[in-house]
């Protein structure tokens, strides 16, 4: 059969269909008109956001909730640069994404043409790879490669810059079956010798601890992790991006380590004799002062990215490969270590330093709000977060039980991420209950996406932990800058979030007393055809504790310890 002649725009749509893209997010503009003309009657659900940044974050949230590649589309120049924060965010958290940007005509590139930006140049350090398509004959292979690179190995965003004349040019469409990239062959199976070495080390460890991150979720290895931890009775700490990989109702679960980790997770790491890192990258928010990190421990590091190994801490047994494969191997070779005394000690620490907050004075506290959301949704909702205090309280007080239910901007720490990410997550998981746990600062960074959620009848619930401050920055100012609250008070000029939501056609509620939190959350769960904003007027100067001051060893925590 002869391949049909098609325009570049048509080829894009056909290729997206071949990649099973059901949903994409974006915003139109001058040089993507040929693509939008094709989208008009294409069998792909296109979600028009109200800002390109919203589109990138929505694609990201969609990818995290489903495990599929998130796709976003924007025009050249400002459309493309508006995607940049979202692309950087996906890059830092290893999220599979393909971003397509329009570009001016090939003969105008480099001429400072209207709405021209060198987006491949701009995104080079924040993409896993990027392309400028200069010949329509290269288009199909480029798209095939982009999806392959985005979703394999350590996933990440790939950008395709697509000039308007190439969108209009014609060629035969032939979608390749296979990709052959000389310099890209990710390792999946771990080295058998290394796996055996690691199994041996684990079998003889006295105080082992599993330190697990987003890689466990990416490789869908939660089942293997659970089996391995339970069978060998090894306690598990999960990073922010790893939350949900191991159910928090399991007694072996220690919660999150690091700057706002639980005291028992941090103490356990500091006393451990063997750290088994799985799909986690020893980020500075986890290690604290790196020279003082886990002084008694040997380190096994399982990661699909060789460059993550021995980047910040010296690793004793590196195993490059996919977490699922390697955990299976470890399951086979590990003899259960004797951890009874170690677990007893950890239990003691759990009793001595529980996560807690003042909850007896009748005031509405943000931790209580998160706990109530957790109780009411039985730890089974998809929780997106913004960045700052809201994010840390969500991580600490929501009892995650399943992978792909914690959607948070970890590496980049992007305010304004949570709400559009929740829209993307809800598009990918229409039957799930999706919350965005927000702050009053962050929510205003992409609040225009209310229109997107209303138009698409998405029942996303936004719990604004409203303290009228940029709370985390204020907390640092309180603790380290003599309470000089420089430009962190947002009270003046704050909108009425209830009226604001209502003006878009969403539901708005306000809660000022603890006893009203539960009914409001329950009411929001009954609303299934539009978003809900709940404005929780929480204690203004509540702090996130415990906390490890920046640059300190992780057992030097302040607050919430007594």
């Amino acid at each position: 059969m002869l391949d049909m002649k098609m325009t570049g725009a048509q080829i894009l749509i056909e290729a997206l269909k071949k990649e099973d893209v059901e949903v994409m997010f974006g915003y139109p503009g001058g040089v993507v008109l040929p693509i939008f003309d094709r989208l008009y009657d294409a069998p792909i659900k296109f979600i028009l956001t109200r800002h390109e940044q919203g589109a990138a974050h929505a694609a990201d949230g969609y990818a995290r909730a489903t495990g599929k590649v998130g796709v976003c589309l924007a025009t050249s120049g400002p459309g493309a640069t508006n995607l940049v924060t979202g692309i950087a965010n996906a890059y830092m958290d290893s999220i599979p994404m393909v971003a397509v940007t329009g570009q001016v005509k090939t003969r105008l590139i480099g001429n400072d043409a209207f709405q021209e930006a060198d987006i491949t140049g701009i995104t080079r350090p924040i993409t896993k790879h990027n392309y400028l398509v200069k010949d329509v004959k290269d288009l199909a292979v480029t798209i095939k490669e982009a999806f392959h690179i985005a979703r394999t190995g350590r996933p990440g965003p790939v950008l395709i810059d697509f000039p308007v004349d190439i969108q209009q040019a014609e060629t035969e469409f032939h979608y390749p079956e296979k990709v052959e990239i000389k310099g890209y062959k990710p390792t999946y199976a771990g080295h058998p010798g290394q796996i055996k070495r690691a199994a041996k080390a684990i079998s003889s460890a006295k105080r082992p601890i599993l330190y697990t991150g987003g890689g466990v979720i990416t490789s869908n290895a939660s089942g293997e992790l659970r089996e391995f931890a339970i069978k060998n009775k090894i306690p598990v700490t999960t990073t922010l991006l790893g939350l949900g990989a191991f159910s928090s109702d399991n007694p072996l679960h220690l919660g999150m380590p690091g700057m706002h980790g639980t005291a028992y997770a941090n103490h356990a790491i500091m006393e451990s004799d063997l750290i088994i890192a799985v799909g986690a990258r020893f980020d500075d928010r986890v290690t604290g002062k790196v020279e003082a990190f886990a002084p008694h421990a040997d380190i096994i590091h399982i990661d699909i990215d060789p460059a993550s190994v021995s980047k910040t801490v010296e690793v004793d047994i590196p195993i490059v490969g996919d977490a699922k494969h390697i955990l299976k191997g470890l399951l086979k070779y590990t003899k259960k270590p004797d951890t009874d005394a170690w677990l007893a000690k950890i239990d003691e620490m759990k009793k001595k330093y529980p996560l807690k907050y003042e909850n007896s004075d009748g005031k509405l506290r943000p931790q209580y709000v998160v706990e109530e959301i957790s109780n009411i949704t039985k730890g089974e909702a998809i929780i997106c977060t913004e960045v700052g205090q809201n994010q840390m309280w969500a991580a600490m007080f929501y009892k995650f039980t399943k992978p792909r239910t914690m959607i948070s901007s970890g590496g980049l720490g992007t305010m304004g991420f949570g709400f559009p990410a929740a829209i993307g997550a809800q598009m990918g998981r229409p039957d799930a209950v999706v919350f965005d746990i927000a702050g009053d600062g962050s929510i205003q960074m992409n609040i225009q996406e209310l229109a997107t959620a209303v138009y698409n009848k998405l029942p996303v619930k936004v719990a604004i932990l409203n303290n009228c401050y940029l709370g985390m920055v204020r907390q640092w100012q309180e603790l380290f800058y003599k309470k000089r609250y420089s430009y962190t008070c947002l009270e003046d000029g704050q909108p009425d979030f209830v009226k604001l939501a209502e003006s878009y056609g969403a539901v708005g509620m306000r809660v000022v007393r603890p006893e009203d939190a539960r009914p409001a959350i329950e009411r929001s769960l009954e609303i299934t055809d539009r978003p809900t904003f709940i404005d929780f007027r929480v204690e203004k100067e509540e702090n996130v504790f415990p906390m490890v001051p920046a640059g300190e060893a992780i057992n030097r925590m302040i607050g919430g310890m007594a």
């Binding site: 491949t120 140049g121 080079r124 350090p125 896993k128 790879h129 400028l132 200069k134 690179i149 990239i181 000389k182 310099g183 890209y184 062959k185 390792t187 771990g190 080295h191 010798g193 290394q194 990215d305 060789p306 460059a307 190994v309 021995s310 980047k311 590196p318 195993i319 490059v320």
Partner: protein, 171 residues
């Protein structure tokens, strides 16, 4: 410690910017960088001379390997290899010093490639040691300009470098 790294890359749009950008973004040093086509026009070779401790070098190699357009990375340190650099150097001369400079150039195996009224242009090919000794020899006469290509290097075993796949960190 100085390291000479050879990087085989796909000869594609933006590949030099990717490599240079990686070094600047991650704070790695580049002492010199030489790029040229290989026996295969679709593949270029970059020879990079860089500086750093063992850990930095490990990261440089791993981060380079992560780039999709990078086919292979080889560190020549501790291996047998040829290393050459081409330098053009312009030295001020007068009637008195011209002969002296010419003799110095001859003694180093370099060559005078242009004779001007008040200067000589000299071409020198060699390893870093030879290049530096010529520079030192000519410095007293007054060096007007130095142009260097940066080092290029090639392993001297009988295998070709272009074996497919990237090295793993596993032992």
């Amino acid at each position: 410690m100085k390291h000479t790294i050879s990087v085989l890359v796909e000869n594609k749009f933006g590949v030099l910017a990717r490599i240079a950008g990686l070094f600047s973004a991650r704070g790695f040093n580049i002492e010199s960088l030489a790029v040229g086509e290989t026996e295969d026009a679709a593949v270029s070779r970059m020879t990079i001379v860089t500086d750093g401790d063992e850990r930095t070098l490990d990261q440089i190699k791993k981060q380079l390997n992560k780039l999709i357009d990078v086919i292979k990375v080889s560190d020549f340190t501790d291996k047998k290899y040829l290393e050459k650099e081409l330098m053009l150097i312009k030295v001020a001369v007068n009637a008195k010093t011209k002969k002296e400079v010419t003799e110095a150039v001859d003694s180093c195996g370099a060559e005078v490639v242009n004779t001007g009224e008040k200067s000589l242009a000299i071409e020198m090919t060699g390893d870093a040691g030879k290049i530096i000794s010529l520079l030192e020899l000519l410095r007293p006469f007054g060096i007007l300009e130095v142009v260097r290509t940066g080092r290029i290097a090639m392993g001297i075993d009988d295998k070709e470098m272009k074996t497919p796949g990237k090295p793993e960190v596993n032992e």
